[in-house]
């Protein structure tokens, strides 16, 4: 995060354990400079085993449909396409992780699941699926193949963390880290994007992911708006 010309301290303590959770986030190359990051061949276990129902058709049609309704998608510049592909891969990871959480809850592996938490997981999964559909619309309009796999290294890390989840609190903590990573990644990507529609999409997704963060903080018994300025220190790097 850039240093803006005023104080950023609102007296709220950040949680050190969440600053560099993945060991893959923060301080890496700018998202906009990424080469194509839609990893293929990732393993399928807990983190992404469920409901990554993306289409894999390629093409360059200017019009695509998303789960949020029909939308017109314009062809984005090449740098924007690289960012879109990385963003889509993160959305695949989020959809898969929330799906795995729902599966675990359904199998009774998380203990009693409060109704609000079940509702949140269902809604968040749907939101990320809609985001994935949007990005894949941009990607296909740019003549590339839709992204259906998560970032390999990040997925491995999430899988390892997911294996430790034993209850709803643990699942909420993992979801919080995913959402913080997603919102920070979009925040970092926005200044690198050129296409206006891509900028508004990334911004609109940053908003919803940051709002997911607030809900999870509240559920976990923490203040829902802990930062004065949103930062990029948890932004994901490719790989």
């Amino acid at each position: 995060m850039k240093n803006f010309p005023i104080t950023k301290d609102n007296g709220q303590q950040r949680i050190p354990s969440r600053r560099s959770f993945f060991g893959l986030v923060g301080g890496a190359a700018a998202v906009g400079a990424l080469a194509a990051c839609g990893d293929t061949g990732g393993s399928t276990n807990a983190g992404a085993s469920s409901s990554t129902s993306t289409t894999k058709a390629s093409g360059s049609s200017g019009t695509t449909a998303s789960s949020a309704g029909a939308t017109t998608t314009t062809k984005a510049p090449n740098g924007d396409l690289d960012t879109a592909m990385f963003a889509a891969s993160l959305e695949v990871l989020a959809v898969g992780t929330y799906g795995a959480a729902l599966d675990a809850a359904g199998a009774g592996k998380l203990g009693a699941v409060p109704p609000a938490v079940a509702e949140f997981v269902t809604k968040a999964k749907a939101d990320h699926q809609a985001a994935l559909d949007k990005w894949n619309g941009v990607i296909k309009a740019g003549g590339k193949t839709a992204v259906t796999e998560p970032p390999k290294k990040l997925k491995a890390t999430v899988d390892a963390e997911f294996a430790k989840v034993k209850d709803v609190t643990g699942a909420a903590e993992l979801a919080l880290l995913l959402e913080e990573t997603a919102s920070a990644t979009y925040l970092k990507a926005i200044p690198t994007l050129k296409d206006k529609a891509a900028i508004e999409l990334a911004g609109g997704l940053q908003v919803v992911d940051a709002q997911h963060v607030s809900v999870l903080l509240f559920v976990l018994g923490r203040y829902p708006v802990p930062e004065v300025f949103a930062g990029t220190d948890k932004a994901a790097a490719p790989g």
Partner: protein, 294 residues
């Protein structure tokens, strides 16, 4: 929780007045198009002349001059007419806002408008904290109002500092359009739910305005700052939506407005009320020049 705050709970507009404003906007739009036509024509001429080859330094300079002229004229006219968020305006701005150089006049207006919204929010939360049912009411709601006011003060400082950094004059007055609405609503603020609904509207306007501005700004630092602050305003909005829903749930819901809360007792809707859409769209954005220094 039968009436969660959402789109249907936004502040109601005076529809007859809106029709008058729309008619005025239409007239202003026509004037703006007339004033801008020569500048846009000059840009189109340059595009034909330059073709697909790389332009010379002289051509870039000339294009920048024409672009700045067109952009400034168009932005001022359309923004004054409240049409800058419209489709036609977006297309026209796409024509004139090519990256030949940073569009500082428009960037400055955007930052001044952002500052005006922050000043408005500060005033609104200050007023809320003066209400007895907030000052002496639910501890979490009071803390939220205090903390959020403080955060908006720091956002105001940041936007003002960035305005100065671009050579502009920082805005010192709250957004006049929404200040009038706040003043109109003040006598109707009789319960915490009324305050939460008004605050949510202001936070949504700020969030949507900053979201829209991300694609209008040309200065990278200003984009980063705006995106960063947007990421906090939207959390204020999410929190207010959740609190509003719990307030609507009566005593049982109010008891759950606590940190930590009793998660097991939260109604299912608490898990989704804060994020009604899969992605935010800037449908409540203020035009870039709405809060510009005159």
């Amino acid at each position: 929780m039968d009436s969660p705050p959402g789109e249907k709970d936004r502040i109601m507009l005076n529809e007859p007045m809106l029709e008058v404003l729309l008619e005025e906007s239409s007239d202003l739009h026509a004037d703006a198009m007339r004033d801008t036509r020569p500048s846009v024509a000059r840009l189109e001429e340059w595009r034909r002349d330059v073709g697909t080859s790389l332009p010379t330094t002289e051509q870039v300079s000339a294009m920048s001059t024409a672009r700045a002229e067109a952009s400034s004229s168009l932005a001022k006219s359309l923004a004054a007419a409240g049409l800058l968020t419209g489709g036609i305006a977006a297309v026209l701005l796409g024509v004139v806002a090519s990256p030949a150089a940073a569009d500082k006049p428009l960037d400055i207006q955007i930052l001044q408008t952002a500052t005006s919204l922050e000043l408005l929010a500060i005033a609104a939360y200050e007023a809320a904290l003066g209400l007895p049912f907030i000052a002496d009411g639910n501890a979490v709601v009071k803390k939220f109002a205090e903390t959020t006011k403080s955060q908006h003060m720091q956002h105001r400082e940041a936007f003002a500092a960035q305005t100065k950094a671009l050579g502009g004059t920082p805005q010192t007055e709250p957004n006049a359009k929404y200040l009038a609405i706040v003043e109109m609503e003040k006598p109707k603020l009789l319960t915490p739910a009324d305050v939460v609904k008004l605050a949510a509207t202001l936070e949504e306007v700020a969030t949507d305005t900053y979201l829209k501005n991300l694609s209008l700004l040309t200065d990278k630092d200003s984009i980063e700052l705006t995106a960063s602050i947007m990421g906090v305003e939207c959390q204020h909005l999410a929190t207010l939506r959740a609190v509003g829903a719990l307030l609507a749930g009566g005593d049982e819901g109010i008891a759950l407005i606590a940190i930590p809360t009793d998660v097991a007792k939260l109604p299912a809707a608490a898990g989704s009320v804060a994020t009604p859409k899969p992605f935010e769209e800037p449908d409540m954005a203020s035009p870039p020049a709405e809060g510009a220094v005159k």
